[in-house]
Symmetry: C2
Subunit: 158 residues, 2 copies
């Protein structure tokens, strides 16, 4: 269903590297897999791939390719690729970006806007991970934040 499930390797990091508490890592992977699956299902429902739906989702307003890539969390070549597909289907158009002649501005067409509305509706229909109360969700968020903070993150500035 999803673009590709990234070869979860739940057992890998969850095996010996986890110490005395097995099962945590697989759960993390499973959780993100659920989120991915939900998004991919909504994308498929409106006739898009997950990557394309991601682009459409982020195109609430016209932006340059670069900015779109930033929002999609991917590299420029990938943006070019995905936008190519959307443009072939008439869902977006590339135009000049005012104030910078080397950049291009991507904007949804009327069709694209309609599809985006459909996508948003689908996404809101049945969000996953609702099995927790508000207090539990807060605890979960706190724990995750702490786990990540005390771990070794990617250097904030290069």
């Amino acid at each position: 269903m999803d673009t590709r499930d990234r070869g979860r390797r739940t057992a890998v990091s969850g095996g010996s590297a986890e110490g005395a508490l097995p099962g945590l890592t697989p759960l993390l992977y499973e959780a993100t897999a659920r989120l991915d699956a939900h998004f991919a299902a909504c994308a498929t429902a409106v006739g898009l791939t997950a990557a394309q739906a991601n682009a459409v989702y982020e195109l609430a307003d016209p932006v340059g390719m670069r900015e779109l890539g930033r929002r999609m969390c991917c590299e420029p070549p990938n943006v070019t690729f995905v936008v190519d597909r959307l443009e072939e289907r008439g869902l977006v158009v590339r135009g000049p970006l005012p104030g910078d002649r080397r950049a291009k501005q991507v904007a949804l067409t009327a069709d694209g806007l309609g599809l985006r509305a459909e996508l948003l509706a689908k996404l809101a229909e049945d969000p996953p991970l609702r099995g927790l109360g508000d207090a539990d969700r807060r605890t979960l968020r706190t724990l995750l934040a702490r786990a990540l903070a005390e771990s070794d993150p990617a250097p904030t500035d290069a």
Copy 2:
């Protein structure tokens, strides 16, 4: 570093679909991204891609292609692809699987076994997500398990 970071779309599922608690979904994605990054770094350190390292990791004993795919959480064509690369490098060999002439058995060579040992050593070196005490880890696991259990999982049987 990773094979590809799957276009996280943290904002997507974390935006309106999350209700009154923003920031949970991005944290989940970030956590798995850390795990992926750690694994990919270890893979690169021993001269493998993440997918190849995943296969090598799972090849503790000789298995059929199908079983290997199951362990790697991916589809058969993918196993063929990855095993092809490993076989070209002399890290694995394909042989007949006793008792079933259409299946093949994949086994690590001596080189493959050596590389696997290196990989395991690297993986154990500095496992991520250690920033939590044992009690917090247990809580985290419990919460995740509950969130997933009460959500709508993939149908257990097709």
